[in-house]
């Protein structure tokens, strides 16, 4: 089990409310419609129904939040970073002499 087709089906199940409602009403019908295997059909019939609904709501909130992302806010913070806090950094570096090396772990 867990073919790319099943993974693609799950992605749709998590994001498509109509499909989700039909699946919760009759997993076997939906499995047939999408050409899922017998094993995959059994997995759908045994699905964690509460978890599916809650997870789908959570993913939907994340998608809405990404859609509302405001790049202007990021630019504002970039300017704040550069102009205001950069000065603090220089000051702190001179006072403490703190310096840290960095290397990617291999």
């Amino acid at each position: 089990m867990s073919s790319p087709a099943f993974e693609a089906f799950l992605a749709r199940l998590y994001t498509d409310k109509d499909l989700r409602l039909r699946c919760l009403a009759s997993a076997a019908d939906v499995a047939r419609e999408y050409g899922l295997s017998g094993e995959e059909c059994l997995a759908l019939e045994a699905i964690d129904r509460d978890g599916l609904i809650l997870a789908a709501e959570s993913y939907a909130r994340k998608r809405r939040s990404k859609a509302n992302f405001n790049p202007g806010r990021t630019r504002l913070w970039s300017r704040a970073l550069r102009h205001t806090l950069g000065l603090l950094l220089c000051f702190a570096s001179r006072v403490t002499g703190r310096h840290s090396g960095k290397h990617m772990n291999s």
């Binding site: 099943f6 950069g86 990617m104």
Partner: protein, 308 residues
């Protein structure tokens, strides 16, 4: 949990103790623009900063310059959320190349991604979802890790993911699936203790038993965060990992237990994505993580020097 934890600690390996005592546990925080002022004003409390890489893939040069300046003060790590490497679908190079460019620009200590899929068959889920825990997704993840490591130049650390739904069609339990990918790829596990805690509570497992079943010798970095309980349609409750709340006490107990079970130095990152409290609260949480690490090291008989 504490009572169950006592007595489980393995005897410290003398060689590992000597080798690792030269290094230190570290505690840091995830970089967020809203926390910038607090972070700069409390650099003495922060050993490392984790940068959410996807937010900087198309950032202007001056922002990258600001991060480079930050990296001269505090070691940086990069954390990705969008590759979806735990999948039977091959990762697209266009998803990996921005991480390679950012890593080249910032020279972080390490980079990390999630044991999750975020899209499949042209559908964007919008967040980290756990694929069916099966041998094919293990094999898919191993192939994608190799591909990503080749492009970025180093292999990522991999984070266990919280889920509200038991992944349908799974044939492996969570710990077995994570172990197969981490050991098969030779990468490190970025162990998110709240994700582990949420999954254990949501699906009826003992959090300590789930912790002990993870590949703990491969853990280098740890996440701590918080969440909230939400009502399920049929009447139960599930713990949502939302990064909007303080880490619960049990997460610190898990951290202590992890420190008691492992010999290698650990880097703990506090994650917070909103509902920001006064920075003093976050500093107290960093101190709480340090205290938990120290308690665990004492239980193990291995007290590493505290980071500055």
């Amino acid at each position: 949990m504490v009572a169950a934890a006592v007595g489980v600690v393995a005897a410290a390996d003398a060689g590992a103790v000597v080798a690792d005592a030269r290094r230190r546990d570290r505690v840091g925080i995830s970089w967020r623009p809203e926390l910038a002022a607090g972070i700069y004003l409390h650099l003495s409390h922060i050993d490392v900063l984790e940068v959410l890489a996807d937010n900087f893939f198309v950032a202007p040069r001056r922002m990258i310059g600001a991060l480079r300046a930050l990296g001269r003060e505090v070691p940086l790590t990069l954390h990705g959320v969008g590759m979806g490497l735990a999948s039977t679908f091959g990762v697209e190079m266009a998803r990996v190349e921005p991480m390679a460019r950012l890593a080249a620009a910032l020279e972080p200590e390490s980079w990390s991604e999630h044991l999750a899929f975020v899209r499949a068959g042209g559908t964007e889920i919008g967040h980290l979802a756990v694929p069916p825990r099966t041998i094919p997704t293990v094999e898919g993840a191993l192939a994608n890790i190799e591909r990503a490591a080749r492009v970025v130049g180093t292999a990522p650390e991999f984070e266990n993911v919280a889920t509200l739904v038991e992944p349908p069609g799974s044939t492996l339990d969570e710990a077995a699936w994570v172990r197969s990918i981490i050991r098969g790829s030779g990468t490190s596990l970025l162990l998110d203790l709240h994700n582990l805690y949420a999954n254990a509570r949501n699906f009826g497992h003992d959090p300590l038993a789930l912790l002990e079943a993870m590949p703990l010798a491969q853990v280098r970095c740890v996440h701590i965060s918080g969440g909230r309980w939400i009502n399920a349609p049929s009447g139960g409750r599930r713990l949502l990992d939302d990064h909007l709340h303080d880490p619960p006490g049990d997460v610190y107990l898990l951290l202590e237990h992890l420190a008691a079970l492992t010999a290698q130095p650990l880097t703990v990152i506090l994650e917070r994505d909103g509902h920001y409290p006064p920075f003093a609260v976050l500093v107290a949480e960093l101190d709480g993580a340090r205290a938990a690490l120290a308690r665990g090291r004492r239980r193990r008989g291995l007290l590493l020097p505290a980071a500055a």
